[in-house]
């Protein structure tokens, strides 16, 4: 299990989507979940850097596991996700600060994501409010942004959650760069997908 988490953590780190020690990934196996250890370097995850804990209830392992453990647990309890990636990709964060939602302009983004909601919370890390709002958004979308914080993406496999994270970032980059030109896009699905 740790190898899977380690592999994708390093990929995300190398792409600049997880910076140094920040960000976290988890995998659900039945009633148990495996999550990155708090403060572990994203490109050096070893067996001792993945913490096993319960999906159902809080346990003493919270002293070691990611500070977002409760958000991951809440997502597993309220969605069909079996893997979660929480990352801090730069264009995603920029777009979360500029827009109330992001409608992808790129073909893959609009085909796969349709719309990327932006969740706004007062307390950005490990709060009940974050838990509630992220869970609510992930019931309808596979990937979301949290304003000023980063992305949450879910999937049946870690590879899927990783893929969604990459798509979120690609769509945000495209949207941001097109808007930066001030020229307007010849292909914009905003009207179509705003209602998604």
């Amino acid at each position: 299990m740790w190898r899977e988490i380690s592999k994708f953590s390093k990929k995300l780190h190398d792409k600049g989507y997880m910076v140094s020690h920040s960000g976290n990934l988890s995998i659900r196996c039945g009633d148990r979940m495996f999550i990155k250890r708090r403060g572990a370097a994203c490109d050096e995850i070893g067996p001792e850097d993945v913490i096993e804990t319960s999906v159902e209830e809080d346990t003493g392992t919270i002293v070691l596991s990611s500070s977002e453990t409760e958000v991951h647990r809440a997502i597993y309890k309220s969605t069909s996700a079996l893997a979660i990636v929480h990352a801090h990709p730069p264009y995603s964060i920029v777009c979360s600060l500029l827009y109330d939602e992001v409608i992808p302009m790129d073909a893959e983004g609009d085909y796969m994501l349709h719309k990327i909601p932006v969740v706004v919370v007062e307390k950005l890390s490990g709060s009940k409010e974050l838990e509630l709002k992220v869970c609510e958004a992930l019931k309808s979308y596979k990937g979301i942004l949290v304003r000023g914080h980063g992305t949450f993406a879910i999937g049946k496999l870690m590879e899927e959650a990783y893929h969604v994270t990459c798509m979120l970032e690609a769509s945000c980059m495209t949207r941001y760069l097109v808007d930066l030109t001030g020229l307007g896009s010849k292909r914009d699905k905003t009207a179509e997908y705003r209602a998604w």
């Binding site: 250890r37 346990t59 003493g60 392992t61 919270i62 500070s67 453990t69 490990g126």
Partner: protein
């Protein structure tokens, strides 16, 4: 500058005096102020339970303020258990009440000819007879004093253990909060001082309120976003560590003879929450609320914390949670340190098993543990030997290696074979084996600030030193150690600067701690301590576990110690060099 009440209990007289400005700047308050008084005033070889020992109750510049966990106070004295300089601090609400009397410190000297207690109010102090209180437990004492002086008063007192000069005796306040370690309660008992009642109402003076409040808000924000201070400790108490430490072969079991405890699930933080928890309890201005009010079939009380789960539980092989909790309640009522009590009982169990001690004290006998706590408090039967602590007990019965102690102080709940930096921390601690001088478990296991290899001896000295310095400085404020999961020297220095108007940079704050550490070292050297005492029990140096994740590990202490002395600017025998002392402005 603040104010000190200097009380001579022999003559029944006292004076109020100003806290000297240079002392306040260099040593701030709490542990720092106490260490300075002891170093300046105690002659070499003073009997810790004699008239010439001094007992200091000290608050800090943040005590009673809006700073997080600002409810603590320090007790500083020469310890009868270790014969070292010793500070022990406690939470609850007594500290702010003492501070609100206008006092930064209470210096107690001499010995009253008969039992007395002090009643401290705004700018006033009375020495009153305590004959009717003598013999009462800590809860009864508090209750009687509150009915006499008002429910708003706060009480710090000793129980029968302190009166009977038990070297494991604690000073208890607000019923179940303890300045527990080192036998500070016995020093209070030796002075015939049963209690201190504080009923102040003055507000803590803050130099720059606006800036101070901003820093306080930032501190609370960080504490609320930290998973340990916001979730783990509030939900499960400190015993949240039990399962984890057991898995890593760090939870001491059977007097540190076994790598793990098979019944850990029965006494873990999760079990406490599920089985006996009534409610959480927080000290003054604390958002963490790690305290546990609990209830067994027979009784209600407070605890057990992680250290107690280890000392009265796994270390004695007691897996019945109700027995552990009730032994804890008894310690609170009789005024005894649970860590040293458990460590001493575990030593007695080992002595009995190995045939050195005829008294039948069997591993895992929870009822016997409770009985021994009572016997110790009243120095009855074998309790008279236990009252001397594990070192003297094991020496008396001819098997000194059975005592798991450093400088006479029983080890806390972390086996250093599984967390080697803790081995260095225990060996070099100025007050004997202690987890609060340097908590290397934080960096070696919990990953604060980042995780390092727990089995490596490399580069541990530097980390240990910086923690010792930081914690010594924190103890001048006097804040709870748990804040350091979320805060660092930058926050503490800002709080101190805004509160006092004296500018401390983060590096100044660490130097403050280093100054205190070196002064304490000088005190201990004057008492004859040196490199020979900076050591560990043989089992950690030569006897590895044969199974478990810490299999084959021992602490390579000498190597770490050489590095430690060098990094401290001390010579090879552990003596601070003149250059270092000049740098720190002491000596």
């Amino acid at each position: 500058m603040g104010c000190v009440a200097d009380v001579n209990l022999t003559t029944g007289s006292f004076v109020w005096k100003d806290l000297q400005e240079d002392v306040a700047k260099k040593f701030v308050g709490g542990r720092g102020y106490g260490a300075k008084v002891l170093f300046d005033e105690l002659e070499k070889g003073v009997d810790a339970l004699g008239e010439r020992n001094v007992l200091v109750f000290a608050t800090g510049p943040l005590t009673g303020s809006s700073a997080p966990t600002s409810g603590r106070f320090s007790v500083v004295t020469k310890s009868p258990l270790t014969n070292t300089v010793f500070d022990s601090n406690s939470g609850g609400f007594f500290g702010p009440s003492l501070k609100a009397c206008g006092l930064d410190a209470l210096v107690l000297r001499g010995r009253s000819p008969s039992p007395v207690y002090l009643n401290v109010t705004d700018g006033n102090l009375e020495i009153l007879g305590a004959e009717d209180l003598w013999g009462k437990d800590t809860h009864e004492t508090r209750s009687m004093l509150l009915s006499r002086h008002g429910r708003g008063s706060r009480v710090a007192c000793i129980g029968p253990a302190g009166e009977n000069l038990v070297k494991l005796a604690a000073i208890m306040n607000d019923d179940d909060r303890a300045a527990a370690r080192g036998g500070v309660g016995a020093v209070m008992g030796s002075k015939n001082l049963k209690a201190v009642v504080a009923s102040g109402r003055a507000k803590t003076k803050i130099h720059d309120k606006q800036s101070f409040n901003f820093v306080v808000r930032e501190c609370f924000k960080l504490l609320e976003q930290n998973p340990v201070t916001d979730k783990a400790l509030p939900r499960f108490g400190t015993a949240v560590l039990a399962n984890l430490m057991n898995e890593l072969n760090i939870l001491p079991t059977k007097n540190f003879l076994s790598p793990s405890f098979a019944r850990v699930d029965e006494v873990s933080g999760e079990s406490i929450r599920a089985k006996i928890l009534v409610r959480q309890r927080a000290c003054f201005n604390c958002s963490i609320a790690c305290g546990r009010v609990t209830k067994t079939k027979n009784k209600q009380g407070e605890g057990p914390e992680y250290e107690t789960v280890y000392a009265l539980g796994s270390d004695c092989l007691v897996g019945n949670l109700e027995d552990v909790a009730e032994a804890n309640y008894l310690c609170n009522e009789l005024g005894i340190d649970t860590i040293s009590m458990g460590g001493t009982i575990a030593t007695a169990m080992e002595l009995h098993e190995r045939g050195f001690l005829p008294e039948r004290i069997e591993w895992g006998d929870g009822k016997k543990v409770k009985e021994l706590v009572e016997l110790t408090a009243y120095r009855k039967g074998i309790g008279n030997d236990l009252a001397e602590g594990s070192k003297r007990l094991a020496e008396k019965y001819g098997c000194p290696e059975s005592a798991v102690q450093v400088k006479g102080l029983e080890l806390p709940g972390y086996d250093p074979r599984g967390t080697k930096g803790m081995g260095l921390a225990y060996a070099t601690s100025n007050r004997g084996a202690c987890h609060l001088r340097s908590y290397m478990v934080g960096v070696e296991v919990l990953g604060f600030p980042k995780r390092v290899d727990r089995f490596s001896c490399l580069n541990k000295a530097g980390l240990c030193i910086v923690q010792q310095n930081l914690n010594a400085a924190m103890d001048t404020l006097v804040l709870c150690r748990f804040t350091s999961y979320a805060l660092d020297e930058d926050h503490y220095a800002r709080l101190l600067s805004k509160a006092t108007g004296v500018e401390y940079k983060p590096e100044d704050f660490l130097v403050l701690g280093e100054r205190i550490w070196n002064l304490e070292r000088l005190f201990n050297m004057r008492e004859g301590f040196g490199r020979k005492d900076d050591t560990l029990p043989r089992r950690f140096l030569e006897e590895p576990f044969k199974e478990g994740s810490a299999k084959g590990q021992v602490v390579e202490l000498e190597r770490m110690l050489d590095e430690y002395y060098r990094f401290r600017g001390w010579d090879q025998d552990g003596r601070p060099t003149p250059r270092k002392l000049a740098q720190l402005g002491i000596g």
